[in-house]
Symmetry: C2
DNA sequence: AAGCCGACTGCACCTGCGGTACAGTCATGC
DNA sequence: GCATGACTGTACCGCAGGTGCAGTCGGCTT
């Protein structure tokens, strides 16, 4: 079963893997089905057996990306919480871990699939766009919950809307990835996360 | 001459205008030459007379966008400087004006052409990518100069790298536009600019 | 008035890509 | 031993991005 299952799953997964790399590098539109089937050694019919159309590939790609992202964030917050009981310092540690992770990427960050989809919106159906929206909302809820826990213990010294502050991290991640790519500076993203951390510190601990 | 020149320039400009709206709304890949020539009432040959290929259209679009962006920023900083002599308060006023301008956009912000290009990188030549990079560098230099002037009078109360703080505005603009679009919340971008302003205040004036 | 030039039009044609349709194959699992 | 899942191969379609080229038409120079 193991060998079979491996082979069975490998075709679809191989397409997904190749597609992810290609899409993050050069965009969805520029990634052709032909290059994917060539790379995955599968026939065109085989491709359309797994994905009814290119839009379904986008959907699968996005789901995969969002899920992996979620796992990474879970891991970071869990590690941070294990190191610290205090909600503020737990969040600050998580941001530090996050920045370290970004800094460890020696090449330029592969890019944000969600943004990639957003900028090619019309290529896909409403469903794909809703997926991206749900992912962004999940980030908001997650970070917002952290900030709510913090504010209960640390009255903010700078007047900020907590939802905006929660969104700000998504904004900085997304913008940071883009500017990082444009500037061809892999460390830019990590430094921006450090700046966000400095802001959170200033808000709850003062300058 | 006026009528002639107007008509002469109008074909190319009309394509550019239509293309800009279409690209910002649905992405470059999803914008077809056919729809542009239909909208501009020009023949396919006419299109290729003006733009050797689709990549040249992207280049022209980007140049146009960057230039307009520059003019808008010039205007905002000039207005802010006219209202205030102090470098810090001038910058804060400029950010306020900027946020107001973003808030005035009742529809979702049209999107950032630079990011749009970045995510479809391989569609275009290196030249187009260099254009985007130069634009981002210009933002960095512009904001950095402002921050240098501020720091001479206001010793920072939060340890930050000024170049990073300069880049942060570009990052928040770009990320803000993207998240704003994904969330379908036109006000999100303005609120993020306000947050950046709060951070700058905290850095130089304290909490 | 002659003629050149810039800005096109019209048409024919080619390629690559996304997608459809459908019949056949081949290993695995019940 | 037969159904099912995971494909292959072949043939075909329409659209979009180009290419090539001959012709047109108005304005500008000389």
């Amino acid at each position: 079963m193991s060998a079979t299952t491996l082979k069975r799953e490998s075709a679809r997964d191989k397409i997904l893997e190749l597609a992810e790399a290609a899409v993050l590098q050069k965009g969805f539109g520029a990634t052709s089905i032909e290059e994917l089937i060539a790379g995955a050694s599968i026939s065109k019919s085989g491709f359309f057996y797994h994905f009814p159309d290119k839009g379904e590939l986008a959907k699968a790609l996005l789901l995969r990306y969002i899920e992996r992202d979620r796992v990474i964030l879970d891991d970071i917050f869990n590690r941070a919480d294990a190191l610290n009981d205090d909600p503020l310092h737990g969040f600050l540690v998580a941001l530090k871990l996050f920045a370290d992770m970004m800094a460890a990427m020696t090449e330029v960050h592969p890019g944000c699939m969600v943004a990639s989809v957003c900028y090619q919106e019309q290529l896909f159906d409403r469903e794909v766009h809703e997926l991206a929206r749900d992912a962004a909302l999940a980030w908001r809820v997650r970070f917002r919950a952290r900030l709510d826990a913090i504010v209960a213990q640390y009255p903010p010294r700078v007047p900020v809307d907590l939802e905006d502050l929660a969104d700000m991290l998504s904004v900085m991640m997304d913008g940071g990835i883009t500017i990082s790519r444009i500037m061809r500076d892999p460390q830019l993203l990590a430094r921006q996360v450090v700046l966000y951390r400095a802001f959170v510190r200033a808000v709850f601990l003062g300058a």
